[in-house]
């Protein structure tokens, strides 16, 4: 992945996703025109709401940060050839774990409480996805299906706990856990409205990239993902690798849950189940399982999510319009994956260029 590429290949990697986004914008414009909106007005509104001003861009970043962490839950196991979509469950339980730890040690110094919440969220999320890895390795249970099932089980656990043992009796309409004290909440980055979750997300993506590309662990994982039998013959501990990488992926999603609890909601309730999990799966595939690309794709999706409100307010379009746009963009980008190598212009011309 890091070897030198000719400018044609690089251009292909830029042009194809860009073309896919343009195609999605075009299709969305037609859709808006049918719905009675002015396509160009809608484009401008999306741009303004997502990236148009510093304040708007901060809204985008707030939505992008859990997506980055959530995407890693799919990206890391993908190195081993696993398709895990249990991000939602790991986020939900990570948030729950963070609250449980945060409430248990709430008397401590804020930095200790925050650290405890982060570790709690990561441990619970990590164990949850590690279980998927254990089932995969020891019982050959399909990881996509088991992680999907476990999403529902996690959400049921959340509902059960916040309506039962963890419930704050004063939360009437929306059963919730007791709140985290304000001093223990995760603050904002200096000079911004964006919380520290963004920093966590970017650091986690960079660390994941280094782990996969620059360490023996990452090399072993890639090898096992490429050819399982060869890896076993080479004596790689495939089981341990599977469980470890699932744990790390789950820990990232669990951290996303912690960030949502400790920086946004302040308590655990059903708001934790807000589709950042499935969003993260899509980010992972659109970023072609590359952690650095996931940062950019998360910001793009964050921007689309941030523009939902304005489409409703200034164009009279239902708020589901942003969902349609999101779907079109992802379908178009996923399709564009099949276009690599189909255009002659981007093909290597070794002989021709060497003679020039």
């Amino acid at each position: 992945m890091m070897q030198m590429q000719s400018w044609r290949k690089t251009l292909e990697f830029i042009c194809i996703p860009l073309g896919a986004i343009l195609a999605a914008l075009f299709a969305f414009g037609i859709f808006c025109a049918f719905a009675g909106g002015n396509p160009f007005g809608v484009y401008y509104s999306i741009y303004r709401a997502a990236f148009g001003s510093w304040s708007a861009f901060q809204n985008t970043l707030i939505r992008a940060s859990p997506l980055m962490l959530s995407a890693l839950c799919t990206i890391l196991p993908a190195r081993l050839g696993l398709v895990i979509i249990g991000n939602e469950g790991a986020i939900v339980l990570g948030g729950l774990g963070a609250v449980a730890v945060g409430l248990a040690i709430q008397g401590g110094a804020p930095i200790i409480v925050q650290l405890g919440m982060a570790l709690g969220g990561m441990a619970v999320g990590g164990l949850w996805i590690a279980l998927v890895g254990i089932l995969r390795h020891y019982r050959a249970v399909n990881e996509t299906i088991s992680s999907l099932l476990m999403n529902y089980i996690a959400i049921a656990l959340l509902n059960q706990l916040v309506e039962g043992p963890m419930r704050d009796p004063s939360s009437l309409n929306k059963p919730s856990s007791y709140p985290i004290a304000d001093v223990n909440m995760l603050g904002n980055l200096p000079g911004m409205r964006v919380h520290y979750g963004l920093l966590f997300g970017i650091i986690a993506c960079i660390l994941a990239y280094i782990l996969i590309q620059r360490t023996t662990f990452g090399f072993a994982a890639r090898m096992a993902g490429g050819n399982l039998r060869a890896a076993k013959i080479a004596g790689l501990p495939v089981g341990k690798l599977t469980i470890a990488i699932c744990f790390l992926g789950g820990a990232c999603a669990g951290l996303a849950g912690m960030v949502e609890v400790a920086a946004v909601h302040g308590r655990a309730n059903i708001s934790l189940n807000s589709n950042y999990g499935y969003g993260g799966v899509l980010v992972a595939f659109v970023a072609r399982q590359n952690p650095l690309a996931a940062i950019l794709v998360s910001i793009m999706l964050g921007g689309i999510l941030a523009s939902a409100g304005i489409l409703q307010r200034s164009h009279g379009l239902p708020d589901a319009t942003a969902l349609v746009f999101q779907g079109l963009v992802f379908l178009s980008i996923l399709y564009s994956d099949s276009l690599y190598g189909r255009f002659d212009f981007f093909k290597e011309r070794a002989i021709a260029t060497s003679e020039v």
């Binding site: 398709v83 050959a140 088991s146 099932l149 089980i153 349609v324 079109l328 992802f330 189909r342």
Partner: protein, 311 residues
Amino acid sequence: MAEALGWLGVPLGIIAGTLRGSAPFLFVSLGECLTEKSGKINLGLEGTLLMGAMSAYGISYLTGSPWLGVLSAGVAGLLFGFIHGFLSQQPRVNDVAVGIAMIIFGSGLAFFLGKPFIQPSAPQLPTLDLGAWSQSPPVQAALQISPLFLIGVAIAPVMQWFFRSTRWGLLIRAVGDSPDAARAMGVSIYKVRLLSIMAGSFLSGIGGASLSLYYPGSWSERISSGQGLMAVALVIFAKWRPMQCLYASLLFGGAQAIGPALQSVGIDSYYYLFNASPYILTLLIMIITCSPKRTLTGVPGALGRTNESRL
């Protein structure tokens, strides 16, 4: 419904819930079964279900004919199936990812187009009152069966026969189990899969019609509580056999009714966990029946494999 009957209401509530709630499971799982038999997964049936529910309700409201609504739900399913069948068969495109994108696109489109239909009430499908013999209103209400449910019950054995005894059924199984052998027979894998996915989506769309035109019988954005995704688990539970999809749908529909039925007699301590029981059950069965030494019985051989490049 169960209040007047006391404890007897629990089994009655579960039976009524099973008869009412299993039709969407049945249609979507039969659709997913057909799709997976051809070797592709369609996670996007959740979006198809919503789209089917919306178009059935909308068309029934606009034309006054619920059966036209059912038909349009199927057509909406066909279109979604075409998109999924086309995209998921492109080289390097992952069918799981396309499925999730289709959930987002489908639910977005359904909410967008369905916005005007949330308030008005559309004509519902007629029901067959099999409980007319009983004096008790709860029993009568419980036995109001939807004709769609009966159609679904009839499709299951037909599909079983179709896979076992017809040329087309054999083709689909060959494509799903061993694409190379099918290719050697001169079969177009692309076409067989596309048609299977489209037919499966058609059935799922009708499952959506059962949601909005029978039970719960209205259109709202929360009408499908993940039933489209659950059906994927259900097909595995049923080991890719249509008749077992029928039994599993009844079981899942019944399991969904356990929580509310117990709640009606005052037991609500484990409400949410009871609701999650189908998922827990499916996972447990997978853990018990899977083994690293052999593949799952009944699983189509090509399921989950990446697309061979068609270049």
